[in-house]
Every structure is written in C-alpha cells, then in structure tokens.
Amino acid sequence: MRKKLGLSEEKIARGRELASAIVAPIMEFVRGYTTVTVERATLRIAGADGADADGVPVPNKIVDSLRSSDSGLGDGALLRYADAAERSALPPEALNARIAEGFDLASRPVADAAAARRKAEELVAAGLERISRNKRRREEKLREFAGRNNDPLLYLIVATGNIHEDVKQAQAAALKGADVVAVIRTTAQSLLDYVPYGATTEGFGGTYATQENFRIMRAALDEVAEREKRYIRLTNYASGLCMPEIAAMGALERLDMMLNDSMYGILFRDINMYRTFVDQRFSRMINAYAGITINTGEDNYLTTSDAFENADTVLASQFLNERFAYEAGLPARLMGLGHAYEMDPSIKDGFLFELAQAQMAREIFPEHPLKYMPPTKFMSGDVFQGLVMDSMFNFASKATGQGIHLLGMLTEAIHTPFMMDRFIGLESAKYVMNSMSSFAEEIEFREGGIVRSRAAEVLDQAVSFLEDIEKRGLLDSIAAGLFAEVKRAKDGGKGLDGLVKKGPAYWNPVEAELERALGIGG
C-alpha cells in the first residue's frame, strides 16, 4: 500500500501509545475476573451442550447451580463437569442428557481432583482440536480457491428470522457474488444471558444465533463454495451478554468472522462495562485461536452522533479496539476495524471528507482488513437517491482499498432487505468496482488539499481525544458520555451480577491453553 496523505508518523505512534496506556489498567482488572458466560464458553468447548425440556441450555444449568451452591463459581465450572464425566464414565453427549434431565453437578464435591483434571484436559483438547481442524480447513479452502474472491470482500446480510429461509437468501447472495454472508441476530438476543438451542424459525429483524443454525448455514455456504470455487465466509455476532459463548460456538462450527467490539455492548446495549471487558477478552482469545476475523463496531457511533463532527471518535475507538485485540492475541490481519460512510449528504465536498476518512484508516491500519459500512442513517424512502449514495460509497471503498465491504441496500430505510435489494446492491457494486479497478494506483492527493488536510485534522483530534481519555481513565470517560454521546454508569447496565472474582483455586485449562498458544501472558 502506497501512502498518500503525508500523515505524521509520530502522531500515529502517539495514538497507539495512548491506547496502550488506556487499556492497560482495564486488562489488569479483567485478568482477576471470570463471568457466567466465560464459564459457559469453557464448558461448551469441553463438550457441554443441549438443553432441558424448558429450553434452558445445559451450560446454564451447570453454571447456575454452581453459583447458587456453597462452592460458587470462583473456582471455575469445568472441574465439576469433568469430575462428573470421569466418575460416570459417560461421553459428553450422555452426560449432557443426564444434566438436562435434572442431574445436579453441584450436589456433590469433586471426588478425585487429579483424575478430574486429567479428564478436563482430555475434553478440552478434543474441543480445541476440532477448532484447529476448522481453522486448517478454512486455510486449505482459501488456498484452493485463491484469487476467486472479490477485493474488497463483498459482505451481505440475511435476516428473515427463519434459518431455512435465510439459507435460500444466503445461497442466492453467494451465487451472485457475495464473499461474506452475515446472519443478523434477532432483536434483543444480545440481552439474553443464554444461547438458545437448536434450529430456529422465529425471529424479529433477524435469526437467533444458535449452534445448530450456525451448522445449517455453514453447510449451505460450503455447498455454494464448492460449486462456485469461491470460499464464502460466514459471519455472526459475538456480542451482547454471551460474547464468549457465541465465539466458542462459531469456532466449533467454522464461522469465519464475528462482529466483536470491545465497547459496543456497553454503549449500545447498556451492558455493564466490567462484564463486557471481561467477556470481550475471552471471546477474542477464542476468535484468535480459531483464525476468526473480528469486525468492530465503530460505524455505530455515527448512528447516534454526527459523522463529520465526531470522525475523531471513530479513529480513537479503532486505536482502542486494536489494542484490546492485541491483548487478546489477535494479529492485525484478523482485525476488521470498523468505520462507515455516514456523512450528511447535503455537506459540500462530503465525498472528499469520506475519502479522507477511509484513506486515513487504510494508512494508519495497513495490515488490517478494514470493515467499511455503507450509508444507513441518511438513507430514505427515496430508493433511487439511495442507490446513488450507495454507488458513491462503493467508489470510496475501492478507491481507498478497504478490506470488507458491507453492501449498501437501496431500501435501508424501509425494511430488512428483500432478495432483489441484495441483488441490486451486488450488481451495482461489481459494476463500480470493476470499472474503476485500478483507480487507487492512479491517484495522489494534493498537498494542502481538502483530503490531506481533513485526514491530518481528524488524526490530531483523535490524539487529543485519547489524551483526554487517558487522563480520565476509560471507565470514567464512558460514564461521562465521551463515546457516541452515550453515558453509562460503572455499576449500571445489564449483566453485572454475572461477574465473578476468580478465587485462589480458579482453574480454566481453556484459558491457559489459549494464552499459551497465542503467546499472551496470563
């Protein structure tokens, strides 16, 4: 990538340095805590799955009963599960069925800790091997079909609420050229402190993320991939109250990308900040181990605050998301840092400001597959004008070498996409991107011109914004409403009661193995 903006390297380095200083105290806190969903994710990797007759998932049954017992969760949940597996000599499926029928793990203490540990390690090794196999399979397929995907990757969303209907739409999208298919989650799943079980056909504005739904969609996309000789990436949302569990399920079913932001849940779902910071680390470690590309959510800032005025908060958040991701062992090539084309279309030279923002992100994060989001907020019922806005966005994306391109929908302001909306989005993007394919190599930005000046200004502002955050501390900055104009109290929000201090005997071989494999200290 050729740099064109003449941005100050010292400023960029300063931004990174500030991000490290801001994140460090959070990580210190995070390492001392676990959460109910971190424990459930751990259990899932060891084989806990299924649900009882009322739909309560087995991992929840285990964690809830331990929590309310004398032993609590401070030692972690896995040893108890492994102890039951060891003593009963049952394979996980059979043990899960017994737990679903009412067998209570908390009802008896661990018999032989050494034997239980050996059993736990064996179960964890099997889960992690399955995840590694998935990773190898993805790498093989990407090698086999090398050069067949679009650049940037064209990303489409399906959201019918019914997984079987989603399959039809996803296959159609993939056949027509989509490289990435995301199954949007149903309204409010992010606030459930459990992951539903099995295939689902009822959702509002999206489809439940369940492991079975993941499996169904994975198989459907693999089928198209073989036929088209083009690997189709599958995406879901490791966000909300079950970040780590969804990451675990995605890793087990070979998802390729996860929406996974370090602060989105706090700001946009009112989830408690301590809970989120603990959950995001574990979920990102799983993603890193599984080779899953994360997509961060900076685009959301621009839905509640102005894209021109608050461009610096997007860059500042990218620096923070990057730092949090490094702390969890993710390499830059798996960081799909987010941003969006959301400026008010009536601004004079607005396109130039968008170009500046996109090119700036490209240059500051050179190895990261940037995730670029289309206009949404200013899309209206005028679908014809909307298509023009989407075309300008397509142009900006290709002109600045973005990595993951979420296709704009001309009906964005009206409904979740119809099949033909997606088709129009794909065809128009392919046209724009093909006809200007080498444009980026052809152009320079004039010194002292609008684009260079704007990028320099946003970088300056982002650095002073980060300086302010460093002084206040991240938690207090969020509480003061510095991000997205949303204020969150430190002890407020959902899910705080699921935060648990690790006891002296806390034991989690999944965490230990991930830290070892990813080379991050505990």
């Binding site: 296959q171 056949l175 409010a188 979740t416 033909m420 088709f423 129009i424």
Partner: protein
C-alpha cells in the same frame, strides 16, 4: 365534480407506472412471460417487461412498465398527519400557548418500548438539541420532558408516567418486521384501559412506519411518522390537553 387522477408518464392520463419485483421462478422466456402475466393479472394493461435477471437458480428479478386505466377521486384522499391541523407552531409560540391557555407546565414522558433499541427517533423529538434545526421538548420552557430511552417495557412506562403525573405518553416504534410494533402499541393501550387510566394521558405514537391513521386505529390520540418534529407533537399535545379539559 370529482377530480379524477391517474399516474402520469409523459401525457396526462396515460396511467404509466414502473414496477420492480422478484418471482420465485428461474429467469428466461418463460419467467418473463410469467412476469408480464402477473402485471396484467394485477389489473394493468400494456405491460412491457423491460429487464429480467437471474437472482439465483430459482429466483428472477424483473423491471416492468405498464399502464392503468383506473383513476381515483383526489377529493376522497385524506392527509394522514396529525400535525397538519396544528399547522406549524414554533417552540416559542407553543410555550406561550401553554402558558396562556393551561397556565402550568405540561409533563411528557417518552420511550421506545418493547425490545426496540432505536433511540435516535425519540431523542430527536425529546432531547435538548432536537433534530434538523427543531429543538426537542427538553428545551421547551413550559414542558417537563422525561425521556426513558429504549427497550422500555410498557409497564415501566406507565409506572413512571403515574409517578411523575404525566399529561402525555410518547411512544416510539421503529422495528416493524412481523408487526412487532402493533403488538407493543396495542399492549400499552390495553394495559392503560385495564387500569382505567387511558383517559388520564394523551397517548402519541411515532416512528418511521407509523402513521396517524394506524395510531388512531390502535387507540392512540395521534401518530407521527417520518420527518416529524418536536413542535408538531408539542402543539398537538397542548391542544389535546386543552380540549380534554373542556370536555370534562
């Protein structure tokens, strides 16, 4: 005399319309004819399918032009806007009106209810800074505005309104897929009726897919859609409180 109107292409009363749609059949001559027959079947004439494309093996996309003979009487059409009657009072005028006519502050409680997490619309109406150069209700001197944010259960909204002695409830609904908004809005009215409190509050619904007609059908006093502003709602609420007082 009736004022009959038909769509206009390039000549008065040519009745031209443009349509685009998807059929669950493969693209090809047979699909194109199916598209043409569909359009004719909907009552149009002279259908031309000007574009078709395969969306997948089993689905195809069409663009078609056709004409209609059918006209409607323009005088039978009604503007679906609660605000039209209030014809653009400004913030200052509304404050003045409340001061003069009611002589006390109006208490308004707003929320986006159910699982709907969209706050931007209700914020546009309520927050100090407002939207598109129209200040929000918090800025009105004669209005005490309480914005409860999003994902607020109907029960909580009512409880809160009782607590602060609200005059009006403002409810935002943005997600409409599978008619979730209908359920949420209906539930609020039913809860109020069950408590015998429907008459106590002016109830206003809003959101991009909400119209006055729909809101009134669901038992609200009014509904405000896309592009509505705080002063539209404030004027409506103030006048409604006054007329309710007179009725008593």
């Amino acid at each position: 005399m009736a004022h009959i109107v038909r769509p206009y292409g390039d000549t008065l009363d040519d009745g031209k319309v443009q349509l685009s749609f998807t059929l669950p059949v493969p693209d090809g001559p047979k699909g194109r004819d199916a598209a043409r027959l569909s359009v004719l079947g909907w009552g149009f004439r002279d259908c031309e399918v000007v574009h078709s494309a395969a969306i997948s093996d089993d689905f195809s996309f069409y663009v078609a032009y056709a004409s209609t003979d059918r006209g409607i009487d323009f005088d039978s059409a009604k503007a679906d806007a609660a605000s039209e009657a209030e014809a653009a009072m400004s913030m200052d005028e509304i404050d003045e009106y409340i001061r003069a006519v009611l002589g006390r502050k109006v208490v308004i409680v707003g929320a986006c209810t159910g699982f709907d997490a969209h706050t931007v619309g209700i914020d546009a109406i309520m927050n100090m800074k407002g939207y598109n150069h129209h200040y929000g209700l918090e800025r009105y001197k004669m209005i005490e505005a309480h914005n409860l944010g999003a994902q607020v259960p109907n029960e909580r909204l009512i409880e809160y309104a009782e607590k602060v002695g609200a005059d009006a409830l403002l409810v935002s609904q943005v997600v409409t897929q599978k008619d979730v908004h209908i359920g949420n809005l209906t539930e609020l009215i039913e809860l109020l009726e069950a408590k015998g409190e429907r008459g106590r509050f002016v109830c206003v619904a809003g959101g991009p897919r909400i119209g006055n007609k729909l809101a009134v059908e669901l038992g609200f006093d009014a509904g405000f859609g896309r592009g509505s502003y705080a002063n539209d709602v404030a004027a409506f609420v103030a006048k409604k409180i006054e007329s309710k007082a007179k009725d008593r």
